[in-house]
Assembly symmetry: C2
Homo-oligomer: 319 residues x 2
């Protein structure tokens, strides 16, 4: 890509042109060589958006809640980017379909940009890709970036953990007992939302969260807020936005925001290094054909893989 | 570790000594430097066990099914190693507790070895660690290795995909509709188990699996078997063992077993390379202190992380 073309692309993204942003996100998703050049250019123009991560089980009403929250921010005249990381099976086509339905709901509003990313086919590094997409949306001038994921795997936890504010959505009586929630989810919540809180059992969920909180003290001494919502009716959404602001004020007051960003960047840098090193080795020292030949030798037990990997790394690294 | 000590350890593992095996697995879990030396020695003695991966949602009766299957194999005089990858929250202590309860059920039988691995705290590479643990159990002389995971995240999918035979456990009426199952899970099943099949809805689950199968053709032309079980009563377990054998006969007849192992090793080698490269870089080119300093620069937007990573990789690689 010519430098001039890259600059034009960057300018279009920065002025928030939807097609330029969409093309940038596709490039980032596919990790094209030009996407790295693009990100180098976009990074200095990012850092202004507030990034909010939301995670909840399927059926927790996550998408509705995110849409309502986006509406709330639009009322406050903020522009919003939504990244929905959707693990829906390719058979059902859920991601694409859901995307269309949701786009319709905001169809006339250019202040909202929604993008679904299917988790399928990603060779690891989903958290990194999502963070890079957020950087592009940030550089495109969106004030608020909402990242939603289904909170079930380590990948999804990693994604929302990288946000400035992390929200975990629970619902009463969905077999979703706090006790049975995936390890790591409870610990990352800055704010808990009990959605569908008009259902029976909301009190019990709140009690369970409180009981769990009394067992663990956070490094930053923040006591996660619990907000009750009925997203389908728009109930509790303003309260949620207020709770988010309250937590951000706490971060600023305690000088924790930069600290949090530094610790996030430590992890992101390591992940980027891991990916970049592998790319370089497979490009320069290990062709697809060689890799297949090695795999065959190891599968046939003619070669031990642990020594093999030591040798490849040794041949690549400077002494 | 002295060469002599290593050799004694290897010999003890190979003779199936429980404490030596347990120590090996702990070393592998913690990725100690000696664990790599150990795996180099163990690898040539592995490759004899049949590795069977089982995955299912929480509440699918996975552990009971695995225990029953282990019993079935013991009846056939095979020795069994069980690796339970357990994402249970650290608050509930589920992994350890479950381990103890399950050990009691087989307490007098030295032909079964059970190990729970918590997913918490793993810095990626869980699939690799599990595969390495399987190599150690294999070298210790276990005939069958059962790997069970909660089938929710990409990590868990990666784990069972590396097995010789992959079994996906479904249950009727648990909101566990085939439609809503995590992407990637349906495609990896060589065998489906409908557990708790005495419940209403088993027919519907089977119909849904069949409908989905008609949409996708596997590369190996295998049509995944569906087995109904009631694990708590031991029903269908012999049939499941027979279905596993049938699939393995198919693999052998079609000369697919080696092919499958080669394609698994391609992925494992890449994963090992990724990890090993990063380790070497952080040891030789990037101290913890430097990493923190870089993270602070990036977080403060004084440096773009994409260029930074290029530079670090460049300083590490031979020209």
């Amino acid at each position: 890509m010519k430098n001039n073309d890259l600059q034009i692309w960057v300018d279009r993204i920065r002025s928030g042109e939807v097609r330029a942003v969409a093309r940038a996100i596709s490039a980032i998703e596919n990790r094209t060589p030009e996407s790295v050049e693009l990100l180098k250019e976009l990074f200095p123009h990012s850092g202004n958006a507030r990034v909010i991560g939301l995670t909840g089980s399927p059926g927790s009403g996550k998408s509705t809640l995110v849409d309502q929250l986006a509406r709330e921010y639009r009322k406050q005249s903020s522009t919003v980017g939504i990244v929905a990381v959707d693990p829906t099976s390719p058979y059902t086509g859920g991601a694409i379909l859901g995307d269309r339905i949701r786009m319709q709901a905001h169809h006339a509003d250019t202040g909202i940009y929604i993008r679904s990313m299917a988790t399928r086919g990603f060779l690891g590094g989903l958290a990194r890709t999502t963070a890079d997409v957020a950087t592009a949306l940030d550089a495109s001038g969106k004030d608020i970036i909402l990242i939603e994921t289904v909170g079930v795997g380590q990948d999804e936890i990693d994604i929302v953990r990288l946000a400035d504010v992390t929200i975990v959505i629970l619902v009463p009586g969905m077999g979703d007992d706090v006790q049975s929630i995936k390890a790591g989810i409870m610990e990352i919540a800055d704010i808990f939302v009990i959605n569908k809180s008009d259902r029976e059992g909301a009190d019990r969920v709140e009690k369970e969260i409180r009981a769990m909180q009394s067992l663990a003290m956070r490094d930053d001494n923040w006591n996660p807020t619990i907000v009750r919502t009925v997203a389908t009716e728009g109930k509790g959404i303003a309260e949620l936005a207020a709770a988010i602001e309250e937590y951000e004020r706490y971060l600023d007051k305690q000088d924790l925001r930069l600290q949090k960003k530094i610790s996030n960047w430590r992890e992101r840098l390591v992940e980027m290094l891991r990916e970049s090193l592998l790319q370089r080795v497979t490009r320069e020292r290990l062709s697809e054909k060689e890799l297949s030949a090695y795999a065959a030798e190891v599968a046939g037990h003619h070669r031990d893989p642990y020594t093999l990997v030591d040798e490849i790394v040794g041949s690549f690294a400077k002494k």
